[in-house]
Every structure is written in C-alpha cells, then in structure tokens.
Symmetry: C2
Subunit: 415 residues, 2 copies
C-alpha cells in the first residue's frame, strides 16, 4: 500500500470518549473508525489484521474437521422461545426488532438455537454423527456499557463452532481435540505464552467450562494461575471445591487480570432436547444429540494483542498478523527512486510512505504508531554502500543489509 | 469434498412455502437453508458459490482503485436524521432497534450516510480526492414480501462502492470506468450476454441512473432493450422524453422481464452537503464532495444465475463460480479405488460421491441437482481401457478420456 493513495490518515488524537488504550492507538493509527461506543468500522489496515487472524482460525477449524457455513443475523423468535432464551429477563443483551410483515425478530447474539434447528433437517441416524459446523458471523449484543474498545463491542465477528455427537464419550474426545486446536491458535497469534486454559463455570452437563484467558491489564476477568500445571482458575469458581477437584494449592496461585479470548463449553442435550434434534442410535432408539460450542472473537483477540504489545509510541504487531511486514521510507531523490523499485517487487509486503512534503520525522513516527514489524530506510546515504537500513519495531535494533540481501527476503509475487 | 463427510443432504422437497424455482433447487441441492421468508443461511456449497462471486467482484473493485473497508450494521440515528432518511415515512424498509443504554439504532440498509460521515475525518483538501471506498457488508431491509428466494431478501451481503470526487468531471470519468468494470463483472459471472446497461430514474444530480438488468423470467422489473445500441430502458422511464434523449425508436424495443443485478448512481452533493463532507479547493474555497454509489448484490446475482441456468433436473453453474468442477463417482471396487486416488490429487476440484449403500442412479441425480459442471465416472468397465467418462452438465455430451489425460486437467495443489 502507498500512503499517498490511502484515504486514511493517522490522527493526532483519538475521539475524546475513547478510554481504551489499544482502541485509542487503533483509531489514531487508522485501523478502525468509531461509529459509536461499542461499534467500530474496520479500515483497510484493520481489515487486514482481522483477516489474518480469521485465516489462522479457519485453518485450524478445517483441520479439526469443521464444515463452514454462514448463518443469518435475523433470527425468528420461535426457536428461542423453545429453548427458553427469548425473554429479556433470561438473556439481557438482546437487540430485537420488528418485521413489517408482522412478528418480532432477534439479532443473533449466538447461534445455538439456529444451528440446532437447522440440523434437524439433516441429522437422523447415528451414522450422521459426529459432525462439526463453524462460521465467522456477526453477533449483536446489547451491552449496557462498552468501554474496552474492540475487546467488548455491541457488534462483532465471532468464530463459533458447534459439535454434534452421538455420545458423551464421542463429545469428550472432540472437546479435547478442540482445546488443543485453541492452544495452537493462540500460539500462532503470538499470545500463546500468556494465554491459559482456565477452568470456569460449567452447566448442567459439565462441572466446568474451559475459557482461554490471556493475561492483560485491560482484561475484565480475574484468573488464578497455577504455573506448574499451566492451568488457571476463573475467580467465579475460585473456591475450596475447585482447589480439591483440580488438586491445586491456593497459596501457589498467581492472581492476574485477563481477557477471555476463547471458550469451549459442553452443552450436552440442552438445545437438542428443546429443539428436538434427535437421531436413531444403533438400536433404533431416538436419542438427543450431545452438543458442544466453541467460540473465539477475532476482533477481541486483535484488541488483546494490540493492548499487550503496544507501547507509548504506538502499536506493535506480531509478524504473523501484521497488515504489512515493512514500512518503507525513501530519503533523498535516489532513495525515493530505489524505494519505489523495492515496493514494486511486491506491494503486499510494504506500507510505502511515498508522501511528498511530509517530514521524515513524521514518517518515522507513523511507522511506530502503525506498529509495522520492520521499518526500512533507503536513503542516498545508505545507497552509497548499496545498502538499506532495517529497524525492528519489536527489538528496537537496526541493521544494514545490502539491497540484494534485502530483496532476497521479499517473497516473489506469484503470477 | 466427500459426500460421506458432508453434513448436508440433498432433499426430496423444498419447504412448501418456497415459491421461487431457483430457491427450491438451491434448498434441495443443499446450497442454502431457509431460516424464514427472505432470510437464508449459506451452507458449505452455497458459501463457495457466493465467495467465488465475491472474489470476482473484489478483483474488479481493486482494479478500479477501490480501498476495502468493513463498516458496521448498527447505525446511530444522527447521520440519518441529517440526511432526512430516518423517518419510516421516507424510507419504508428500515429495521430499527433500541440500545439498552438509551437511544434508537437502525440496521444499515445502505451506507451512504455512514461513509460520508466517516470521511469527514479524513478528507480536507482537493489533494485527498478522488477516492473510492468499497465493502462487502450485510444490509438489512424490512421487505413486506419476500417471495423471490435469494433474489430479494431481508438480510444480504452487498458490495457497495462509493466514489468521492472534487468535481463533476472527475466523477463522470470514474462513473464510466465503473460502468465498464460492471460489464466485466457480469461477463465473468457468465451472464454478460443477457445483462444490459439500463437507463433508469436518476436524481437531483443526473437525468438517469444506470442499472444492470439481466433478462430473467423471475425478475421483478420490466426493461425495453435496444439490441442495436445494446442498451435498455427501465419501464419507469419508458416515455417520449427518454426515447428522444437516447435517440431510440420505441417500435424497435424488445420488452423483457429482468432482474437488477447492479446499479450505479450519481449522488452529487446530496449527502456531502447534509453531513458536511467538504474540501478546500485549489483556491481554498470550501466545497462539498461530489459523490457516486455503485452496488452489486452477490447473492442476488447467484440467484439470477441459478434461475437462468437451471432446468428440470437441477442447477447448472457456469464453471467460473461453480463450487467444485467435477462430481466424481466410482463404480465397482476398482472404480471406487481409482476415484479415491483422483480425488486425493486435489480435493478442491471434486465433489466425491463416496457414499456406500447409495444407488448409482441417486448419485447421478444428485450430480445433476447440484449442477456441478462435469460428472466424472470411473468404473471397472471404463478402467478396462484405462479411461474415465466425463459428462458435461451444460451440453449433455460425454467423452472418454484416458486417466492420464484427465489427470493432466486437474490443477496441482500448491504446497
């Protein structure tokens, strides 16, 4: 991308009502735009980061055997009445609306009801199970407060996977595979070291659910980490019974603020019974399907990563999800010309700051604010030795490479 | 994809309330699932077709210089009040909802207001213009009736591009480029021959707008085609004045039912004045931006293509957007083994009907219902001559190829 061609400009100030540090930086650096509290647009840079995260999650979901669909946001009331979740007294963050043709609709805050209902059209026998269906789909939640930037919003893309098994054993086998898959995802997103599988409240069908909590000062949860066992306990189940069941010593637990980047949950037959999703087992007995749900919020993950990696100068993306790898600046006439040549080798690798009449200092500051992993300077001076200067945003260390060496690092464009 | 692993089954019957022929087939063939009238989910096959269409449109939008964003569905009321479009008396297909924190929200039925408002943060000088921003984003429309399957829905993905120019001349130059781009898109989607640039009602800033109308019996519009000039006139502007302006002879016009697959519209300064999107021109004079909007509905296009190409046996996708190219059937023990080998060469190319205990006749019928461009049969008999049989869904013609010849047609998987 060329800065001269991008409609987005970096901003001196974030909107005054924005209190989240990561959101302030994402707004100033031109990744997102704020429509209102808890509702953000993704600008070209933000879209790229979000899609990089989505691509990683999708790869892991496909590897798990997941089949991808896209379900609707508008949800008819019936299925929710059957599951007992339509009333605002039961679920307090609904957005509801009315159909001109008559009747109430909800804006999907999750899709358990919808997918359970859908599968009654396709599941009839134990031979149809197990099966796993996922989507990246908008969710709407009518949050009373929304002050955590893109870490808690009223509208967001969520990856939700649902598992449908014939037996609890089949379910538990998949559940553990999914947990490993989640661990892989957070590793690939660059937050593996600070993300813990965390025991949290379960439901009628399991003692606990599993959250994936990332240590983060801006997080809204409190977790207690057992570093030896590499697990954590959500404060909601921080009690004697849990210590005993997990065989942990409360004196050794490390209390931390954290943000929930994913969760996996044993639903059992709650929804399949309510919505009559049954199959005939090997003996021809009609049996409700045993279900699980597995969520990750790509935008929340993006917010947490931004929050954890940023500094006073700006964002600082891990290479795996950065929108571009290099922030390219040409200095001097020759430098600018050579920079343009490098850019043209593979525009997908570079933010090329080709803006005229912008001071170099401002370009350096933007490179830091945007958090692009490497700043590359090509100046008349570095070119005297046929070199370019590479500065790592992460380590702050710079090195000089010959132009040839640098070019060898740039992936060729596939024609 | 392996049929044995897909959770979706083809259905004998579509829901009884589905009157649209293409929707009946899309439902039966397992491309979509109906949540309610006018609201559909996209199943794995449907998602693939939709994404193939989206990829083609995106390529053309990027080639036009478009910058891609993702805006929100939840829309604060203010901007719509300023433009005069909040009242249900003015816009009758709003879905509105309420924020728990207080205040009304709308579900975006279009994004003119939102993007105009957003750009006030980034545009200040004539040097910032022209610029073009697009997205693929959900729209919600509270249609009173929804009987045309995925050709008219209450929730759908729309590609909307907006152009922002300094002058009318700048705008008109881009507008014509966009029209050419649209012509390319419909050609690439396989409906170029039956899609006409159609003169329709304009607004305060232009005599006409341009619709792209595809001849289709299930279409909701009436157009009059001038085959010599290769243009059409929407019945809403079918009058003496139009004939005169376009220099057409009404006696030579060919009346047809058609479906609007795209439209481009000169907005002028309607929204920029209402929302104060201005720039300083070369003389420092504050001037409202001159705007245009350019829409395509990928799902409607999918519905129109399905409608135009289907027959009594099922769907019939053009190769460019088909979910898979080959429907692979192995017959006999050897045939099944060889089919499995072919499938493994590149699973992205095949629907492999590996289902046991399903009659071949049923597999043949599913191949036709799903509308996969080529059915490939590998049987013990064809293998006697080391051959496979390829049947074209489009022409109905079959040919025998040696296994080697067929393999040479399958793109290699990039590792």
């Amino acid at each position: 991308m060329k800065r001269s061609e991008s409609f987005v400009k970096t901003l001196k100030n974030a909107p005054s009502d924005e209190v989240s540090r990561s959101a302030q930086l994402l707004l100033r650096a031109g990744y997102i735009y704020k429509e209102m509290a808890g509702v953000y647009d993704f600008l070209p840079l933000g879209r790229k980061v979000l899609n990089n995260i989505i691509d990683i999650i999708r790869e892991e979901m496909v590897a798990l055997g997941g089949q991808e669909v896209e379900m609707s946001s508008l949800q008819p009331k019936d299925a929710w009445v059957k599951s007992g979740r339509w009333d605002d007294d039961v679920v307090d963050d609904w957005f509801k609306t009315k159909l001109h043709a008559g009747g109430e609709l909800g804006l999907a805050l999750t899709h358990e009801e919808a997918i359970t209902n859908m599968l009654t059209s396709y599941v009839s026998s134990y031979k149809d199970l197990p099966l796993y269906v996922f989507q990246f789909q908008k969710k709407f939640r009518n949050e009373l407060r929304a002050k955590s930037g893109i870490m808690r919003t009223r509208e967001f893309i969520m990856k939700d996977l649902y598992s449908f098994c014939a037996t609890r054993e089949q379910h538990e086998e998949f559940y553990e595979k999914a947990a490993i898959s989640y661990t892989n995802i957070f590793k690939r997103l660059g937050i593996g070291d600070s993300t813990y599988r965390t025991f949290a409240s379960g439901g009628s069908f399991s003692r606990f659910s599993d959250e994936f909590q990332t240590i983060c000062d801006a997080g809204e949860d409190i977790i207690y980490i057992d570093h030896e066992k590499n697990i954590a306990i959500n404060e909601e189940v921080y009690n004697e019974e849990t210590f005993k069941m997990l065989d942990v010593d409360p004196a050794k637990l490390d209390k931390q603020k954290a943000s929930e980047v994913g969760n996996i949950f044993t639903l059992g037959t709650k929804y399949s019974e309510a919505l009559d999703l049954c199959f005939n087992d090997e003996n021809g007995v009609r049996t409700p399907v045993f279900m699980g749900s597995y969520g990750i919020g790509p935008a929340r993950s993006m917010g947490v990563i931004a929050e954890k990696t940023c500094d006073d100068k700006g964002l600082n993306w891990p290479e795996e999800i950065a929108p571009y790898k290099y922030y390219l600046i040409g200095i001097g006439e020759k430098g600018m010309k050579e920079a343009e040549k490098l850019y043209n080798l593979n525009p997908e690798q570079f933010v090329f700051d080709d803006r005229e009449k912008v001071r170099n200092g401002e370009k350096f500051a933007d490179a830091e604010l945007m958090g692009i992993p490497y700043r590359v300077i090509v100046s008349d001076k570095t070119l005297e030795n046929d070199q370019v200067e590479i500065l790592s945003r992460k380590t702050g260390k710079s090195e000089l490479l010959t132009t040839k060496e640098f070019i060898s690092k740039i992936p060729k464009v596939l024609k």
